[in-house]
Amino acid sequence: MSMEFLLASAIGTLTAAGVYMTLRARTFPVIIGLALLSYAVNLFLFSMGRLVVDRPPIIHPLATTYTDPLPQALVLTAIVISFGMTALIVVLALRSFLETGSDNVAMREMNEGANIEPRSEEAPR
């Protein structure tokens, strides 16, 4: 099996699993789904510079070809951002579970009554 086939099917499987999980009704599977999607996109970005083996990432007088270093830099940025975001959404889900007693994503029961809480304009000084 070629490298391309392996990588492509890995990206496809991760994306499919990620989409399925983000459509779940509870927060934890949704977070797992988002993480899977971000893995898929990282692999996808990585492969955008084409797949080559044993090539330097710079143009060198002795090397006839090179591998594109830019996608790797992009992946690094994407990893940092998605890592931070995953941490944020985990905390958010946990906090929301603790405050509402439910880990359901839907807001059905929250939409009754008015939107604005008392004394919004001026808090105690």
């Binding site: 996109v41 939107n115 304009e121």
Partner: protein, 511 residues
């Protein structure tokens, strides 16, 4: 190369860092610094607007790396207009927020400045990956701001908001990857130059990337069917945050214009105006759904949220024409709808807090002191939002109707714009009459201790309405300015020359 171009991103970044490091525990210190920095941003962006007024696109090479290799920021009329609008809105919102909202959670001002950093960066950048990064900066700050004040409702809505934006960021990366794999560049100008020369075998890939990116911007701009996050999020966010978010949907509209008016513009060969067939139909449905939502709302805040959805529909109908007249009309309406949406969000807060237990529910409740002031302001903001004469909403819709007169879908567009204006008129009239007239007939409130109110928040909301009045009075000069802006925004060649030509300039000056 003017170094001032980078200042709208540097100033909020440094202010935010200062606020976190040195003013963490002192709210008055934070307020002074934040208001002063935002005022400076207004002056700065006004200066840049003047600078861009000569019609030249200016590129700023960060680190002086030549254009397609380094990151570039571009100042032209379009980005300068958006920057000025953002700064003015931010100043009014921060003045509103210092009267209590900023104490309901820590770091309001720091997050606010980070949000401005993200928005300004997104307006200035000339590189798609950099646009992704600034989108993320903007979003991360917006997550914090949206949750500002806390409470179960905000947390639930916040989770949905973060999730949909993480998915849109993922799509953004997929799109960026596809575009890079075909063209080998992410610089907007370089991409614009190369988009027309893509080989026949790769057009499909590039088209997929371009349309995926359109989906990302459509999520930001709340275009149907990707608009469901907006009413929930805006209704759950605190008032000043919702008012500032009025500019966030416009970031989506701006990106659509940059991407599909300029990069994949009329000269892009097989990919010319690749998103154009999608924009107008989706925008028409957006407008219709927004208007129906206005009619169906049971609280004032939901009503305002759906009117923002409807205004995005109106804006994108004009933008979707991708010609000079259409974009000029869209830009005029953009200026108007940002102010109108923000004014309404602030007014809802001012009204709801005075109505005691009834909050913003649309039912009769005992009248509150000086309700004629808020009734009057609401009336003005509502006629502006609905698009009745004499305020700018009417002029904006008139320009849009005029721009679409000769197009293929003119009949549908006119019917939707006029019909939805009528639905919104009914919705807003009903809301206003219930809130202020039916309430007047109620027995007066039980004499509770009426808390002392400050006048400045009301002045801030009034300032936004005054902005719309100015926009109506000076409609002539403003519409000439937006016509010039539209002309420049569609001129791919000048943009490419300004960015890629600056390699030679930088080398020649050795700077």
């Amino acid at each position: 190369m003017s170094h001032w171009i980078v200042a709208p991103t540097l100033l909020p970044a440094l202010t935010a860092a200062y606020l976190i490091l040195f003013a963490r525990n002192d709210i008055f210190h934070q307020r002074i610094v934040s208001v002063a920095a935002t005022l400076m941003l207004v002056l700065l962006t006004f200066g840049l607007y003047q600078l861009a007024g000569d019609g030249e696109s200016r590129a700023y090479l960060l680190g002086n790396w030549p254009a397609p290799f380094g990151i570039v920021q571009v100042l032209d009329r379009l980005s300068a207009t958006m920057l000025l609008l953002t700064a003015c809105l931010a100043f009014i919102v921060v003045v509103y927020a210092i009267h209590g909202w900023d104490r309901r959670g820590r770091y309001f001002h720091a997050l606010f400045q980070f949000q401005l950093l993200g928005i300004n960066g997104a307006f200035l950048t000339g590189d798609f990956f950099n646009l992704f990064v600034f989108f993320e900066v903007m979003l991360i700050a917006s997550y914090g701001l949206m949750l500002h004040g806390g409470g179960p409702r905000r947390l639930k809505a916040g989770f949905q908001y973060v999730t949909i934006n993480l998915i849109s960021s993922t799509l953004f990366l997929f799109a960026v990857g596809l575009i890079y794999s075909v063209t080998g560049t992410l610089n907007m100008a370089d991409l614009a130059a190369k988009a027309g020369q893509v080989g026949a075998g790769e057009v499909a890939l590039l088209r997929t990337g371009a349309l995926l990116l359109f989906m990302v911007f459509a999520i930001k701009a709340a275009l149907v069917p990707l608009h469901w996050w907006l009413p929930t999020t805006y209704a759950a966010a605190s008032a000043p945050v919702a008012a500032l978010f009025a500019i966030m949907t416009k970031v989506g509209a701006y990106s659509i214009l940059r991407m599909y008016g300029l990069v994949f513009g009329a000269d892009a060969g097989p990919l010319a105006l690749v998103a154009a067939p999608w924009v107008i139909p989706a925008a028409i449905v957006t407008l219709a759904i927004g208007a129906i939502g206005v009619l169906a709302s049971r609280t004032l805040l939901d009503l305002v949220c759906f009117s923002v959805v409807a205004s995005m529909g109106t804006l994108l109908i004009a933008l979707g024409l991708f010609d000079e007249v259409g974009i000029a009309a869209a830009l005029y309406y953009l200026l108007h709808s940002t102010l109108a949406g923000a004014a309404l969000f602030l007014l809802v807060d001012l009204i709801a807090v005075r109505r005691g237990r009834a909050r913003d529910r649309l039912n009769a409740a005992p009248p509150f002191p000086r309700d004629y002031v808020y009734g009057g302001l609401f009336f003005l903001a509502a006629i502006a939002m609905v698009g009745l004469p004499p305020l700018s909403g009417f002029l904006g819709k008139l320009l849009i109707l005029d721009a679409t007169r000769e197009t293929a879908h003119a009949g549908v567009i006119w019917a939707t714009v006029l019909g939805s204006s009528f639905l919104m008129l009914v919705g807003f009239s009903r809301a206003g009459s219930v809130l202020f007239w039916k309430s007047a007939a109620q027995p007066p409130q039980e004499e509770e201790e009426e808390p002392k109110r400050r006048v400045l928040p009301t002045v801030a909301a009034g300032a936004l309405i005054a902005g719309m009045v100015l926009l109506s009075v000076f409609a002539g000069p403003v519409s000439r300015a937006v016509t010039d802006t539209a002309q420049q925004a569609l001129d791919t060649r000048a943009y490419v020359e300004a960015v890629l030509g600056s390699i030679k300039t930088a080398r020649a000056t050795g700077h």
